[in-house]
């Protein structure tokens, strides 16, 4: 049976108490925050609890918020069984972002976490194979961070070409 966001939130609160933040957003975008060192527990509960039954991790992404000095990892959960959504957000410390992995719960998280690691530098503790996935192994920095500056060249290859429209 499909639950609405409030019901899902209540179920999570009932199990984990105050570590689950308040509901923000509505409908399919309803979200709640979770501390980075508890996310695995929460996800495991969300997946195994028969009423919640989140059997699918629809999306796992990261957002850099330099202003609040956090990198937010966003989990979009979806249940094929009950056809309902919920979003979990985890704020990791920007200087040394470490978040528990959920790749043992949903196999799809494996590559998604690798991508977030690659592009935002979030380390997922417990991930079996945390390597860069899109960028070259020796690429400096994490491109999707807001303060990332593109290097001038990579192994002698210039990364940009001069505009032909310069006056």
């Amino acid at each position: 049976m499909a639950l609405d966001a409030a019901a899902i939130h209540t179920a999570l609160r009932a199990r984990f108490g105050e570590i689950i933040g308040d509901v923000a957003g509505t409908g399919t975008n309803a979200s709640a925050s979770v501390p980075p060192d508890r996310i695995h527990e929460v996800c495991a509960f969300a997946k195994t609890d028969p009423a919640l039954g989140f059997d699918c991790l629809s999306n796992l992404s990261g957002v850099d918020y330099p202003k609040k000095s956090a990198i937010q990892v966003v989990y979009h959960l979806f249940s094929y069984k009950h056809r309902h959504h919920f979003v979990l957000k985890v704020d990791a410390v920007r200087d040394d972002p470490v978040v528990q992995t959920v790749s043992d719960l949903w196999s799809t998280a494996d590559w998604n976490e690798r991508e977030v690691f690659d592009l935002l530098g979030v380390r997922f503790s417990g991930h079996a194979d945390l390597r860069r996935i899109l960028m070259p192994e020796d690429w400096p920095g994490h491109p999707l961070r807001k303060d990332f500056v593109e290097p001038e060249e990579y192994h002698g290859i210039p990364t940009s070409r001069e505009s032909l429209l310069k006056a």
Partner: protein, 184 residues
């Protein structure tokens, strides 16, 4: 797999393969579809002339009707348009000294021609853009500084500009707008 399955396999294989062969055989008597591209079509028509009006080919600017409003430069997401225009009292209006488009960078999205008030910048059906150097892909439209076009309230009367403007307005009119409900 018993003998029945064995024979069924054989039968299925023969039947489906024969059907496939029938399809390909039927194609032997059908006409080919190829358009022999670099050739002219029947009646000495270039392929370019058969393309629809909305076709987004290489950009072109009709400088006669360009108002120098810089809307296209602002709209371009990759900054491949550069316009230099300055107010010049002596010349009596906006003088354009530069209108360059780097076709090597252009991604043919059409965002520049959408806000153009007169349809001066527009995509042509021309698509043959191969050239020998990057530099030659830069189209420089202002040959000599020119005064930008000023739309006249009473409507255009100059017989040289009129057809250009009409074409331009028709081009802009193709774009959907929220105000005027278009009919089929």
């Amino acid at each position: 797999m018993g003998l029945g399955g064995y024979l069924r396999n054989l039968k299925e294989a023969v039947a489906t393969i024969a059907d496939g062969l029938a399809v390909t055989a039927s194609h032997l008597v059908r006409k080919p579809y190829t358009v022999e591209y670099p050739d002219r079509l029947e009646g000495d028509v270039r392929i370019q002339d058969t393309l629809p009006f909305r076709y987004r080919g290489i950009l072109e600017v009709d400088l006669e009707i360009c108002t120098g409003c810089l809307a296209c430069e602002r709209a371009c997401p990759i900054d491949c348009i550069v316009i230099d225009a300055a107010k010049d009292k002596a010349a009596g209006g906006l003088v354009m000294t530069r209108f360059d488009i780097d076709m090597g960078k252009c991604m043919y999205c059409g965002l520049c021609s959408e806000p153009c008030p007169t349809g001066a910048i527009h995509h042509t059906p021309e698509f043959e853009g191969a050239d020998y150097s990057l530099e030659s892909l830069v189209r420089r439209f202002v040959k000599a500084p020119a005064i930008a076009y000023k739309p006249k309230k009473a409507g255009e009367t100059d017989p040289e500009i009129l057809p250009v403007l009409e074409r331009g307005m028709r081009y802009v009119g193709e774009f959907a707008s929220p105000d005027a409900p278009e009919k089929e």
